[in-house]
Amino acid sequence: MFNYNLQLALKSLRDKPSLTFLTILTIAIGLGFYTTVKTMSYQGGQVPLAHKSKNIFLVQMDNREVTAEEVHQSRLVDTTYKDTLNLMAMDLPGVKQTFNWSTYGILNVEDENINPLRTFAAVTSSDFFTMFEPPFIFGNGWDKAIENSGEGVIVISKLMNDQLFGGKNSVGENVRIGTHTLKIIGVLDTWHLTRKFYDRSFSTARPDNFFIPYTFAMENELPRRAGFDCWAGNADISRSFRTENTERLINSECSWVTFWAEIPDDQVESYSQQLHNYIEGQKSLGRFPREILTYVTNLNDQFTYINGRNDFMNVFSLISTLFFAVCLLNAVGIILAKFMRRTKEVSLRRALGAKKKTIIAQHIIEVVIIGFLGGLLGIVVAHYGLLGMMKIALYSSDYTRQLEDLQPLYALDFSMITNAFITGIVCTLVTSIYPIWRLCNTPPASQLKSQ
């Protein structure tokens, strides 16, 4: 019976090819737009370091003055430099910690034919590379020994390596930042981050172009591109900390360092407790005047919060869903009209012995084929839709972003293709229930008398 129903379904689709194509096109356009937006939302909302994102935690402590306002966790201050060093010195087996702040500089190489490049960078510690796992093409990050020695080493991005060294293995080469010479010990590959989480900006900007040890940066007073949350007499000079007053900054209560910890599942509670104990201890030194408030939040929770507040994407998703719904309604209108033209035939088939379920099966097969073809064409539409959106993103970034940075954010992967197929078929099927129900309820005797 399936073969017969399939033959009838295919015949029906061939009978009115323009109507069939219109139905499929309507579904495809709606599904294509929906899949485009869904893919952007899905890819853009992917949590980095998926294999261990639940174990990567942002650490926050509220060291503000008593009179400070209550703020949401997302706006709570960063960490002070002295707390950063104290936390790093704690003995926490199984726990990795790192921190970073932003800097900038002009990179120079020996070759005078290469133009110097002014770019942003991250100052960080050795575990940055083991915790956040940026991909290396050449070399590695630095270790604690190099960090403690204060040696001038640097890890540069693929973009920098391409521009300064033509893409060759530059490990061992020197670069100059101002008057300082640093040795390249590692070159990163393109690092795809949906959002630049490690500096807490959660921006869609590309990761930094070079990374240098905090010991070197502090010793040589490299500029600090940070927002300093200061109190207790330092608020008025906080801007000066960007380029000077390093000693005062180190001893101040200014918060500006983003602090991260990688904590195994079974130690999260004890880590929070140790943080609590640490603040208790600091309180006896006259610090942390407020009631103890700490946050140890993993990447998953942070991305849930950030994705939920992505108003543009949320509105865009809603519009695409509504548009898809409208397209489906239009398609189902065409299907209904087509099916209703067939009542005489169905009436006859029922009279000749077709059961209701046979009629239903025949039309379900037809609708599934329509949904399948709609899904197939919808994927083609989505492919070009994503290509278009990627070009727009490239244009709107003034081409500061590169195609290879953006490609993963607009990639139609297997899961999205499967999703589009299933959505196309299921939605078409669900919305076609009414036309099929109307048709299969055609009484056998109702149309047989008509001429």
Binding site: K344, E345, R350, A351, L352, A354
Partner: protein, 233 residues
């Protein structure tokens, strides 16, 4: 073979209740050729629809080939229609975009027969109506009389016990009507029970029995001159 006991059919809307058939009591034996006559709107088609299990009814009992069809499920009624009844309609009701072979194939498909058996039955049925050479033609390529013969082939292909014909010659000229009538008589002579609704008194008189329906009530008139020996059920 076919027995109706106090069968009534009422069509209801919010405002109106129409008694299409009232207390029909009828017994048609196996092998009979029965004509059904009556003025327009008298309930002839309703009677045929009930007899063909195309519609359900509210009151009474209807035994078809010994089985009471009252209260049977929709699926079972479909099976009964498919296995025991052949339908012939005034407007032929062929599927215009299917060749004759496929048109005759429709009821056989729903019976789940093998390809070989279906092919044999279709070829035999089309041979019986004299259209074996045209099985690849579309209905639109045939005359009205030929189309009705295809409809008859479709009706007999499954070897049903009953043929229900609703004004089978209504759309045909007298010559073609004559041919179709002869074909039906020939089929009847081989044992198939035929119930035929007609407006044509001449054709009605060629049946063994004539049933008249007037205002939903049936009067059963035994023909004075029986053409043939009626078989017992």
């Amino acid at each position: 073979m076919l027995r109706m006991e106090n069968v009534s059919k009422i069509y209801r809307t919010e405002l109106v209740e129409t008694h299409a058939l009232r207390n029909v009591n009828l017994h048609i034996k196996s092998g009979e050729f029965v004509s059904v006559t009556g003025p327009s709107g008298s309930g002839k088609t309703t009677f045929l629809n009930l007899a063909g299990a195309l519609e359900t009814f509210e009151e009474g009992d209807y035994f078809l080939d010994g089985q009471n069809v009252k209260g049977l499920s929709d699926d079972r009624l479909s099976e009964i229609r498919n296995e025991k009844i052949g339908f012939i309609f005034q407007s032929f009701n062929l599927l215009p975009d299917l060749p004759l072979f496929d048109n005759v194939d429709v009821p056989l498909r729903y019976r789940g027969m093998s390809t070989k058996e279906r092919k044999e039955r279709i070829e035999h049925a089309l041979e019986t109506v004299g259209l074996a050479s045209r099985m690849k033609h579309l209905p639109t390529q045939l005359s009205g009389g030929q189309q009705q013969r295809v409809a008859i082939a479709r009706a007999i292909a499954g070897s049903p016990k009953f043929l229900l014909a609703d004004e089978p010659t209504g759309n045909l000229d007298s010559l073609m009507a004559q041919q179709v009538m002869e074909l039906l008589e020939d089929i009847n002579s081989k044992g198939t029970t035929i119930i035929m609704v007609t407006h044509d008194d001449q054709l009605a008189r060629r049946a063994h029995r004539n049933i008249q329906i007037f205002d939903g009530q049936v009067s059963d008139i035994e023909k004075a001159v029986a053409k043939d020996v009626m078989r017992t059920a």
